[in-house]
């Protein structure tokens, strides 16, 4: 090495911090030549930064991602639960009215309410596990334990 500033410049280039070496390279011809050679090494290193993943490796991962994503319609847990609870309430009320043989003037609205109530009840049942699942589990210890 020619002098300490040459050493520092080379170190910066090796570390991938070219800005730190720029000033020195402007005045040192020998280091400029060295930097060109080093640049070719680093360019070659950067080759293959992204490679097409073979289908046989990708397929199981894509399946797992699809499975994790669940059904194509997403259920927002809280709103679905509230709606579901309301639906369940209306459904139960309705059934109790029917069981009590309360006279109802028009059967069509009754059937509609019954249908909506059933649907919302299903929403409540489906969303309850989602709602109960806590997203913030124990944090990983990066650099120590294996996630």
């Amino acid at each position: 090495m020619r002098d300490p500033s040459c050493q520092r410049a080379l170190e910066s280039l090796c570390l991938g911090l070219p800005d730190a070496a720029r000033e020195h390279l402007e005045v040192c011809v020998l280091c400029r030549e060295e930097a060109e050679g080093l640049g070719r090494v680093l360019d070659e290193l950067a080759e293959g930064v992204e490679l097409r993943v073979p289908q046989r490796a990708e397929a199981p991962v894509l399946n797992a991602l699809r499975a994790a994503a669940g059904p194509c319609f997403a259920i927002k847990p809280l709103p679905a639960f509230v709606l579901g609870a309301l639906g369940l309430g209306s459904f139960v009320t309705l059934v109790s009215f029917i069981l009590a043989q309360t006279p109802v003037a028009d059967a069509a609205p009754l059937a509609a309410v019954l249908l909506v109530g059933t649907y919302l009840s299903i929403c409540a049942v489906v969303s309850l596990p989602l709602l109960l699942r806590s997203p913030a589990r124990k944090a990983p210890t990066l650099g120590e334990s294996r996630p």
Binding site: E11, C14, L15, G16, E36, G37, L38, R40, V41, L42, E44, L45, A46, E47, G48, V49, E50, L51, R52, V53, P54, R56, A57, E58, P60, V61, L62, A64, L65, A68, A69, G70, A74, K76, P77, L130, R133, P135, A136, R137, K138, A139, P140, T141, L142, G143, E144, R146, P147
Partner: protein, 194 residues
């Protein structure tokens, strides 16, 4: 930095329950991860196995990821690096070699030194460009931890902070590993770059 921020947003959405966002992270990092694994192991079968294992663990453990401890990118490469070493250890056991041989305390000979050097078959020799082949051979000749550090920094563009998380070393050590690795590569490739 922008990528890191958008990773964080995606991760937050996933942790809130929107698992469809996992596909966005996969889209962003799958090719990069495979490029790194293939160059680190130089073995397609190993790279594919580790690739799958890494993403399965990401899907399984994403709720446990804590952005305060490092970027998502560092986390993914850390999982992959751990999977590479686990596989290498398994291979060692399978082949009946000495199990859990004591590892030197020296910086350059730690966990990742269990990773075997890439093997370059005759097909690879014939097919690759000369300088590319020389690079592969030069990479095979440096300690695995340096190889990993150099690839993560100069191929994948990780910051030293991220690199330290992946390698499980202080930032200063990560810098030393990169510096030493590049110097050795430069020397070994002198005839191609001079």
């Amino acid at each position: 930095m922008a990528a890191e921020k958008s990773d964080r947003i995606l991760v937050e959405e996933i942790q809130r329950g929107d698992r469809r966002r996992l596909a966005g992270l996969y889209e962003r990092y799958s090719k990069r991860l495979y490029g790194y694994l293939l160059r680190l192991t130089r073995d397609e079968a190993a790279a594919e196995d580790v690739f799958q294992e890494t993403w399965m663990k990401v899907i399984e453990s994403i709720d446990a990821f804590d952005p305060a401890r490092g970027s998502f990118r560092a986390w993914v490469f850390r999982i992959a690096s751990n999977a590479v070493i686990d596989r290498a250890r398994y291979e060692k056991v399978r082949r009946g070699r000495e199990l859990d041989a004591p590892v030197s305390n020296e910086e350059d000979t730690r966990w990742i030194d269990h990773v075997p050097s890439p093997e370059i078959g005759p097909e690879g020799r014939a097919g690759a460009a000369e300088v590319g082949r020389a690079m592969t051979e030069a990479l095979a000749g440096i300690p695995a931890v340096q190889r990993s550090a150099v690839l993560l920094r100069h191929q994948q563009g990780l910051s030293y902070r991220e690199l330290a998380v992946v390698l499980g070393t202080p930032e200063g050590t990560a810098k030393v590993l990169v510096h030493r690795g590049v110097i050795v590569l430069r020397k070994r490739l002198a005839e191609y770059v001079s």
